[in-house]
């Protein structure tokens, strides 16, 4: 009865809301100027890579503090294949995802083979991220610490083929990635694999006792998460036009990746997007405020305090709180 009731009321309303939301996102470049489009592109980027990270942490309980590694692998693979081998990013981005998935699976295999769990797994991810960052920093073929630069987009550029263009183009590129990421995550999390992942997150030993193949499933989630992050890295490299190991693969980027899903709501599908909106927009407004007040660094201070406030007063994240606030309204109807 309950299930039928949900089907009749909840889902159509959810579908309508989701459709309206994606339509609104789709129309953004037609409604706002390029500066806002560039800001919202960053929102979609952090929402997408946050979603990828959230698969591991939010749904399986595997804390990665070195996700910038996969961003870097995706970015460098895409850029090098494009610049040095003339391969379109349509090949470069999936190739980067494949390499990242293999590296991720390798790290996971190594860690889980020796039962590395919890904070020790987090340390392992940091160690590998740092190892690759230093390796890339000393690799002359990709410019080392001097960076790797993409040539300017030619005049006869076809954005759909080169995946490079103006502000609107990159917005739609990240919009598609975000949409695909959301669908893939939803399918995985709500399917059979997602149930097993939840079981592992809640109590791995109990799950294994019930026959859940935790080793294989954990390696799988790391590989999927790494591949998704690498896709984001590839698109990010095309957008920025330059890659530096210290900025793309450093600890600061790893922290930036995890901020959106933590603030938005761990283990939720929509949390990373809400978190990314919050993180990027707060930073934007605080930057404007800092500029107007003429105080250097004020934006960082405001940003830090705001994030602190959210973590203190909404420890479960913004999205779960919003959903809870909406519950009475739904019941009232």
């Amino acid at each position: 009865m309950v299930r039928r009731e949900r089907k009749r009321t909840g889902r159509p309303r959810g579908v309508v809301a989701a459709t309206a939301f994606f339509c609104a996102l789709f129309l953004v470049p037609h409604l706002l100027d390029d500066a806002w489009v560039a800001v919202l592109t960053l929102v979609l980027f952090f929402a997408f890579v946050g979603q990828a990270w959230n698969l591991m942490m939010g749904h399986v309980g595997l804390l990665s503090l070195g996700h910038a590694l996969f961003l870097g692998i995706g970015g460098y693979t895409t850029a090098v294949l494009l610049q040095d081998y003339g391969m379109t990013p349509w090949i470069g981005i999936p190739a980067g995802a494949l390499v990242a998935a293999m590296v991720g699976a390798g790290i996971a295999w190594l860690g889980f083979r020796f039962s590395v769990r919890g904070v020790y797994f987090a340390l392992l991810t940091i160690a590998f991220a740092e190892f690759f960052r230093i390796l890339f920093s000393n690799w002359p073929l990709i410019g080392g610490t001097g960076g790797y630069f993409l040539r300017v987009v030619p005049e006869d550029n076809v954005p759909l083929l080169s995946l490079r263009g103006g502000a609107d183009h990159f917005y739609y590129l990240f919009f598609v990635l975000f949409l695909v990421g959301l669908i893939v995550s939803a399918r995985l999390v709500r399917g059979r694999i997602g149930m097993f992942w939840s079981a592992i997150r809640e109590d791995e030993d109990a799950a294994r006792a019930l026959g859940v193949r935790s080793f294989r499933l954990k390696v799988l989630v790391v590989a999927v998460s790494a591949a998704m992050t690498a896709c984001g890295g590839g698109a990010f490299a095309l957008m920025n036009g330059s890659l530096f190991p210290n900025t793309l693969m450093g600890m600061q980027m790893s922290i930036q990746i995890i901020l959106a899903p933590i603030i938005g709501g761990l283990g939720t599908l929509f949390g990373p997007f809400v978190g990314a909106v919050f993180v990027v927009l707060v930073l934007e407004f605080s930057r404007d405020l800092g500029q107007t007040a003429g105080v250097y660094g004020l934006s960082t201070l405001i940003y830090g305090l705001t994030v602190l406030g959210v973590i203190l007063y909404m420890p479960e994240g913004i999205w779960p709180r919003l959903v809870r606030l909406a519950q009475p309204l739904r019941r009232d109807r």
């Binding site: 960076g147 987009v153 103006g166 405020l289």
Partner: protein
Amino acid sequence: MTCNPAVDRRTILKGATAGAALSITPLRHVRAAGTPVKVGVLLPTSGVLAFLGQACRRGIDLGAKMMAENGAPAVEILHVDTESKAEQGRVAAEKLIREGCSVLIGAFDSGTTISAAQAAEAAKVPLVVNIAAAPQITSQGFKYVFRNFTPGATLVYNAVARIKELSSLTGVSPKTAVLMHVNDTFGHAVAKGVDILWQKLNVPIEIVDTISYSRLAKDMSVEIGRAKAAKPDILMPVTRVNDAILIVRELVKQNVELFGVIGPGSPGPYEKAFTDATGKYGDEYMDCVPWYDPTRVKTRRAIAAFAEAYPDQRFELNVGFSYEAVEIVADAIARAGSGEPGALQAALRATNLQDHIMYGGPITFDETGQNPNIGGVLLQNQGGTPKVVGPAEIAVAKPVFPMTPFAER
């Protein structure tokens, strides 16, 4: 971070309202005839590069003030902080273009500059690069990017040439050297360049060891110990400010005797933070960098105005090149006779500024957008101030070489 005592609750509220209003109002290329041309400036005034970004900002503000006093066309400067993050370059550039800026200046570091250049190129708005050394900035085919700063290779070429001249300038011929470099983007590129040019220019000094160290180094005892063991005549550190201070402290502690310490194209030793922190031990430290020409009247005027506006700060190369960026833009606006980005791009391409403050030939831009006429000088800290000691045509002091041993200071 600077503290402004005039900032109260109301200022913050006004700022928030203005900031919010500014952020949501589309203002692309809205300009009435006769209104000032908007010039957007992207600099890292917060984050890890804040110290240097703020120095650049002082140069920009001084440049705008002096151009206005000299009767240049009216410009309105709009600043955006890139927070030392490369990805913010594009966002900041888009924002400034939206606010109606016809030309951009920035962005200090190469990653941010490339990121901003992509947005500027797409919008066909010229970007005048004040500082950024990556050669790719002008070799990737941008048509709207103009750089008035030496690319890494030229920076190193000038530095090696100055070091080679040192013997003829002082009559002392060092035989051996140790090259030390910070292992970051800049340090790596300079060290590589020194290696190549050393052979090419046939410098009669043998590099007996090359030592790299982490950009996060907190202690240099091992590196200096290793350099000391190589018994070089000169030490050539490629540093930032903090590591240059650490190196001097360690040289004093280990009582290393050298003919000289010479940074080949190294930022840091000419900074006020360096001379303040090292005191007499930082004296006689040499550096080869692009610098202002102290013999020009225009330079002296700019330095005097700077000293008046910022009595606690030093007029150095970050200030100088940022000042010149404003001068280049003002000159282009005057010649274009309009604030239209296309006309400004054409005017910038035809730039030929004979009288300017930084050492070198006239400011012109080649087909890649690079100014090929920027020179390099040999600086030496004397009495806590960096002084030009070479080339002889613009030297204001004689080089002290060999340097006074640390124990005798």
